[in-house]
């Protein structure tokens, strides 16, 4: 898997986020699969998840926020989410986190960053499945080990947090294919 990340020096508008995401997708597909920009033809599944027409072995997912854009390219279904670390939303926690996750967030050294670790992990799983907002994310539960490795109740999926960027949290999810492990390369791209 290759995760392409571009950090915005300020706060990016919606159109700037989309432009950066398209650029990273072109770079990522060419780097990982040799797909040239002129060969990229996108289509969407019934839940709106984009995919590459005619290339069933090529998977990707895109995430953006005002501070960064991330694109994950892989040979299996994947999901990525990125969120700027900011004040945590108690209503999101109440709706989407189970009680033990809420306790662990509040007990963390940096509760806001911990909150967005859990949120982005849940969102990355839903995005890997490609079923959008219809999935009950409270049922996707995580425990973060002392070294930061996410452990979940979804054995069919693997997860990783990208912690290289202080301003944002990035979570990666891949659906396991016959137990194959997944290596991920992080490529930082200029905004």
């Amino acid at each position: 898997m290759t995760v392409m990340v571009a950090q915005c020096p300020g706060e990016a508008s919606a159109s700037e986020q989309r432009d950066a995401a398209q650029r990273l997708l072109r770079l990522g597909l060419e780097r990982a699969f040799g797909v040239r920009p002129t060969e990229i033809e996108l289509e969407r599944n019934s839940f709106g998840k984009p995919r590459l027409r005619g290339r069933p072995g090529v998977h990707f997912n895109i995430a953006h926020c005002r501070r960064a854009v991330a694109v994950l390219v892989a040979d299996r279904p994947v999901g990525v989410d990125v969120e700027a670390v900011r004040g945590r939303d108690a209503y999101v926690a109440a709706r989407c986190f189970d009680a033990s996750e809420r306790v662990r967030v509040e007990a963390a050294a940096d509760p806001d960053r911990e909150f967005f670790r859990y949120w982005t992990l849940k969102e990355s799983y839903v995005k890997a499945l490609g079923c959008g907002l219809s999935y009950p994310v409270r049922g996707v539960r995580f425990v973060l080990s002392p070294d930061g490795e996410p452990e979940s109740n979804k054995p069919q999926a693997g997860f990783r947090l990208v912690e290289e960027f202080p301003a944002v949290v990035i979570a990666l999810c891949w659906l396991r294919d016959g137990g194959r492990s997944a290596q991920s390369d992080l490529v930082q791209v200029e905004w």
Binding site: C65, Y91, C96
Partner: protein, 78 residues
């Protein structure tokens, strides 16, 4: 009676837009550049303030704020 004024107030806490930019046809993800994270916060806040419950399986069908208004109105006071 409808809940759109309350919904609009909550949405404006997540989207920096004037009240005039919000109506029943507004799609918060498409028109206001909100994310699924923002939408979960908005729904959670409305659940808390209005005493209703929005099932997760129904969220993807609530595309516009009018859809959300109709959904809440059908459940308020149940």
């Amino acid at each position: 009676m409808n809940m759109l004024p309350i919904i609009t107030t909550v949405v404006r806490e997540y989207a920096d837009v004037p009240e005039s930019a919000i109506n029943r046809d507004t799609d918060p993800l498409r028109d206001l550049n909100l994310t699924s994270y923002d939408l979960m916060g908005i729904i959670g806040r409305l659940e808390s303030e209005l005493g209703v419950s929005v099932a997760e399986r129904d969220v993807r069908h609530l595309v516009t704020l009018g859809d959300l208004d109709d959904y809440i109105m059908a459940r308020v006071g149940r």
